[in-house]
Amino acid sequence: MDKKKTVVEDIDRGLYDIKNKDRYRYKASKGLTPQIVLDISKEKNDPEWMREFRLRSLEIYNQTPMPTWGPSLHELDMDDIVTYVRPDTEMKGKWQEVPDDIKDTFERLGIPQAERESLAGVGAQYDSEVVYHSVKEELVKQGVVYTDMESALREYEPMIKEYFMKLVTPNDHKFVALHGAVWSGGSFVYVPPGVQVEIPLQSYFRLNSPGAGQFEHTLIIVDKGAKLHFIEGCSAPKYNVTNLHAGCVELYIKEDASLRYSTIENWSRNMLNLNTKRALVEKNGSIEWVSGSFGSKISMLYPRSILKGEGARADFNGVTFAAGGQVLDTGAAVIHAAPYTSSNINSRSISKGGGVAVYRGAVKVAANAHHCKSLVSCESLMLDDLSRSDTLPVIDIQNDEVDIGHEAKIGRISEEAIFYLMSRGISEQEAKAMIVRGFAEPIAKELPLEYAVEMNNLINIELEGTIG
């Protein structure tokens, strides 16, 4: 066996890798120019202010340097990226009307089945636009809005104008500026005051077109005392050209409201995933992030919670699995901007076959934010000597009356534990898989069931062929 081969070889991800014919009604030219941005804006029928916003964002993009920290992005050449691919179908409210090959893709991913069994609403995005959206009637009656961003911009324009890219602004970094210029697709959710959405909503993002970018925008407003669980899933088939994902998620959690935001990201290994997620939490509100990062070639993802009101809370549970050829630079940030706020960050990362998993996180406590609590725990497991794990936490505290804890553990899989399991008749591969699953279990149990199963399957797939 040529050992090097397993380092560069991609795994067979089965159904995730099924490619459809590239179908589109409109596809932007490669690259990024004001004309391309104007074309996208025209194709999308933007209002005037949005067109201006796009052009301004493009200017900022051009003026902003590439990040000087984190994984190298030298492979990214915007001249090769197609920023907008509209599938040749309108958005459908009925599943039967979605074109067959697109429908089959989502069927294989289990989306319609999940909608029937365990979801209150579903959105399905294919390349740059949402092809299907539906939400249960009783939620609509309670005033819950769940729709694609393009429709939202038409039907709820004042609200979109008030909130869109106000929490994450084009000035924040180069790739949100890019997002501001070429964004399309994504979901909009509004939950009115006091409404408790007990069953989750789920949006699934599928990027089929080779060499394309996906720039969906997710905007969620959970109004006073309301409650929501939102699930986001992402995948793409493998191509030999670089694909780019630079999505943006803005979450507004009002007083006493709570939001749970779960993500399983399983992009293919040619994807650069440069995603920005942020939550603004008002008094006594809470945000819970649950995040599984498995795919992509490079990921930079650090969901940020800004605890703006007294008593606001943030929880982050994340698991990252980096195999050969992957650099997954993930973490979480919390800004304690008010007194009596609390946060809890729990991160697990696994690396194997030369993969690199980095935890990069920040906890900041403002001068006025007395009586804050924060606990950060990150653990890393390296499955072999080729792999790498780093922990880069930043803690910045501006006042004394705080309770801050941080623990980090980096370790290898225990040979004695493998021997122990093998002495009970369990094969070496299964023993390793059990230990890895056990390591990820505290996070896996927070994921929606079908995603927890998917994560375990991914761990099993990843560990096949690692023995001997």
């Binding site: 009970r424 369990i426 094969s427 279990e441």
Partner: protein, 259 residues
């Protein structure tokens, strides 16, 4: 004529280049109970870990046969599937894997068939009751946060559930209070039948009180120095190992892995 289960001949073994077993012979037949005693560092734990196939130990000469088949090239899990079991002196903690999950996975692997969940749960409940293990432990992670005594009882639970042909107990009684030793001992007695065999390493004799011991071996300096019947135990208890004339003192630090 008793059926031969384990046959070890002329076994030499080393860990990290240091020779620990120096020509050891041992035969165990079905239906027998063997006890190995010896000073710390004489190679007792090395022997049972070697039979189980621990990758740290290297066989430099000799053979280990199980039911007539040389098993020295077999992997640990293949030995376990043939019916060899080790109750560890220091059982590993395994976060994220529950006792029940471990046992079900192990039982499926050893029997080669998928056992029925309800029947399995019933069997597990009974075995736990007989060892006086609280039933909430089935859902706890293997040995994580267990006391020393709980870890040892968990080992005996696994032995009962997996029903091996050869059970090796490496100081299972150490760290147990008198009541716990009695519980474990009756578990072992209950397990014992004419088709299986037990190899017990102990410094203590309480665990042996309910068992009919067939052979007692004194292991010193990497060899079996003396073999006798159960009466040898009381001799050792009275006089220690030194009078047996072995080079006990200079072997004190040989086995650094398993005290």
């Amino acid at each position: 004529m008793a059926e031969k289960l384990l046959a070890i001949h002329g076994l030499h073994a080393a860990v990290e280049g240091k020779e620990i077993l120096k020509g050891l012979n041992l035969e165990i037949n079905k239906g027998e109970v063997h006890v190995i005693m010896g000073p710390n560092g004489s190679g007792k734990s090395t022997l049972v870990n070697l039979i189980m196939g621990h990758p740290k130990y290297e066989i430099t000469a000799g053979s280990i046969a199980f039911e007539g088949e040389d098993i020295t090239a077999l992997k640990t899990y293949e030995r376990a599937r043939k019916g060899i079991f080790l109750s560890f002196q220091n059982p590993e903690e395994i976060p994220g894997i529950t006792v029940e999950n471990l046992l079900r996975t192990a039982k499926n692997a050893i029997t080669g068939e998928t056992i029925k969940i309800m029947a399995f749960k019933k069997e597990l409940k009974q075995a736990m009751e007989s060892l006086k293990i609280d039933n909430t432990y089935a859902a706890r992670h293997v040995n994580v946060g267990f006391s020393g005594g709980e870890k040892k009882r968990n080992e005996i639970l696994q032995m009962m559930m997996l029903n091996p042909q050869l059970a090796m107990l490496d100081e299972t009684d150490s760290g147990l209070d008198i009541d716990a030793v009695r519980i474990v001992s009756s578990g072992v007695k209950h397990f014992k039948n004419e088709q299986n065999a037990i190899l017990i390493i102990t410094h203590n004799t309480k665990i042996l009180e309910q068992l009919d011991v067939d052979y007692v071996h004194i292991l010193m300096n990497g060899k079996i120095l003396q073999t006798g019947d159960a009466s040898l135990i009381s001799q050792i208890n009275e006089n220690g190992f030194l009078h047996l004339g072995g080079d006990a003192l200079d072997s004190g630090e040989v086995n650094t892995l398993h005290g």
